[in-house]
Symmetry: C2
Subunit: 327 residues, 2 copies
């Protein structure tokens, strides 16, 4: 009889949990409005087994840009700030950097000269700080930085400058049978170091830009060594290419914030059946940043001009989000 | 009271299933012997939550070569036989192929001239038959071929020439919380077309060689087009590189059959904690094929010479497998 009572208790608890899951707001940091309503309507449509828009769980693939979509990207991409901190940390071993550009500018915090060095200058810094070690060693460097570095304006760890409404969205999609992927122009190993802990996205679901790696056996120990050469740039038209390569399926939902995400949303939402495209519009200078058409980072022009006609949801950070960062 | 009886029934059924799962032989097509015993001992060790070799489920990554490991690869890689069939199917649109090598040899079934054309010749055939379409169109071509083509010796569809003991091994590992991946020199999209149905391995868990793809918008329709250019060769030292790129974790178990898998097994088994490496040795001319050191396909020299010292399990197809193909 005690066993029976115990069984009943389990069933009751399970049933209560089920009802709660059905009624609790899964997106509490989103203000009620069209953006939130469209997200919920899409998820209900593709998970309704009797509906015309039902999608089987294996095909419920959702892809998220990272910089500006899941976490902030101002005043500069956080990975670039990591590279600058690494230049400072490695400087004692490279006395020549004191007089050699773009290292000199990086060491002196001379952002104007650094910006003038252009893509080539930044790439030089990235290669000098991201290559020449194993992925495990690089991962440790990233995690050490994440644990100690602070954002210049918010004075918080960078991994706390993730968007609470997007964390809820990731969890909501996963609770509805979606597999959530990051598809970002950022470095794949840079993101993998912390994405599982912060977003719940495991390494095998992170797609990003990469440098080449080479397999070598040193003193009998096999290892991969990161090379100072570009392997793949996961941005713009590269995003659908990266998605095919890693996932092998066309997503049914895509989330971004800049024109670097345009092709990813375009390819995703052009597929048959129910599709979802969403762009986060940074219009909240008070709580985060306000930038779009003229920004040097996260430029958003085509998305604003063509997105609404393509059925994409444009999220106003200011109006649609109750809260920006986790408390 | 009826509800209670119903609950008891569920618990009893579940308990019975549990006991069965614990006692039924998960590898019935493997003869009892050291190979089978080592597989079972490894799986028990990494899944025993109280043991020193316990591995948390997310790190239970197992990688499988495909050609010669999961299915046969004689008298030639099946994907090459697919390419030759495609040359014949496409020939009416390419009258110039009648006089142009290596197409002429392919059309005439002149395998000697074809072999003499070397890697460059074969690559020409692959590019002519694998590029110039979307991944969806290519997938359909592969599935049509799989449905109709027959192996010259066994007169069965190629997807039936998979190894029954390896199908059981894939299922056994998955039942024990492993994520099973294919890591093959074969074409990634060629395998993805049928790997889920045949092996239970979804597209996102297939790593392979690839040609480049390009994102284009044609008459307003966005699509990816396969390009006649190599993107990545997932063989030998490329296998650990492909694993890092796609999975982002070092596997704890690796399964292969040729020296093309050497580095994958080497990197996998050199990691800390319990590791498992296994090579299928094709020594069964009666039921399948017998080849190793001198074969032009699936050459196995280093694996036989160095594998045992590295703790790898060498499986004799003849002695360790009760059955080769599914009935």
């Amino acid at each position: 009889m005690r066993t029976l009572r115990w069984l009943i208790a389990i069933v009751l608890v399970a049933a209560t949990g089920f009802v709660q899951a059905q009624t609790a707001d899964p997106l509490p940091s989103w203000n009620d409005g069209p953006a939130k309503a469209r997200i919920v309507a899409f998820v209900r449509a593709v998970t309704d087994a009797d509906g015309k828009d039902f999608v089987a769980p294996p095909e419920r693939v959702a892809v998220f840009d990272n910089d500006g979509t899941l976490w902030s990207e101002q005043p500069a991409y956080f990975q670039l700030l990591f590279a600058l901190d690494r230049v400072k940390a490695l400087a004692p071993k490279h006395p020549e950097w004191k007089t050699k550009q773009p290292f000199k500018a990086a060491l002196e915090g001379d952002m104007k000269t650094l910006a003038a060095s252009g893509e080539k200058g930044l790439l030089t810094l990235v290669m000098a700080t991201h290559a020449g070690m194993t992925p495990e060693q690089f991962r440790k460097t990233v995690l050490d930085w994440v644990a100690t570095a602070r954002h210049p304006r918010f004075k918080r760890p960078y991994t706390e400058l993730v968007f609470q409404p997007m964390l809820e969205l990731l969890a909501y999609l996963r609770a509805n049978g979606f597999k959530t992927y990051i598809v970002s122009g950022g470095g794949i190993e840079f993101m993998r170091a912390w994405a599982e802990g912060v977003y719940g996205v495991p390494p095998e679901q992170v797609v990003g830009s990469s440098i080449k790696t080479q397999y070598v056996v040193k003193n009998g120990v096999p290892m991969l060594i990161r090379q100072p050469a570009i392997n793949f740039i996961d941005d713009k038209a590269g995003k659908p290419v990266g998605i095919l390569q890693h996932i092998g399926r066309r997503p049914i939902a895509a989330f971004g914030n800049s024109d670097g995400d345009f092709q990813m949303l375009q390819w995703t939402t052009a597929g048959g059946g129910a599709r979802f495209g969403l762009l986060v519009h940074h219009d909240d200078a008070a709580r985060e940043y306000a930038y779009d058409r003229k920004s040097h980072i996260g430029k958003l022009v085509r998305g604003l001009d063509e997105g609404p006609r393509l059925g994409w949801t444009i999220v106003s950070m200011k109006n649609d989000w109750k809260q920006v960062y986790p408390k």
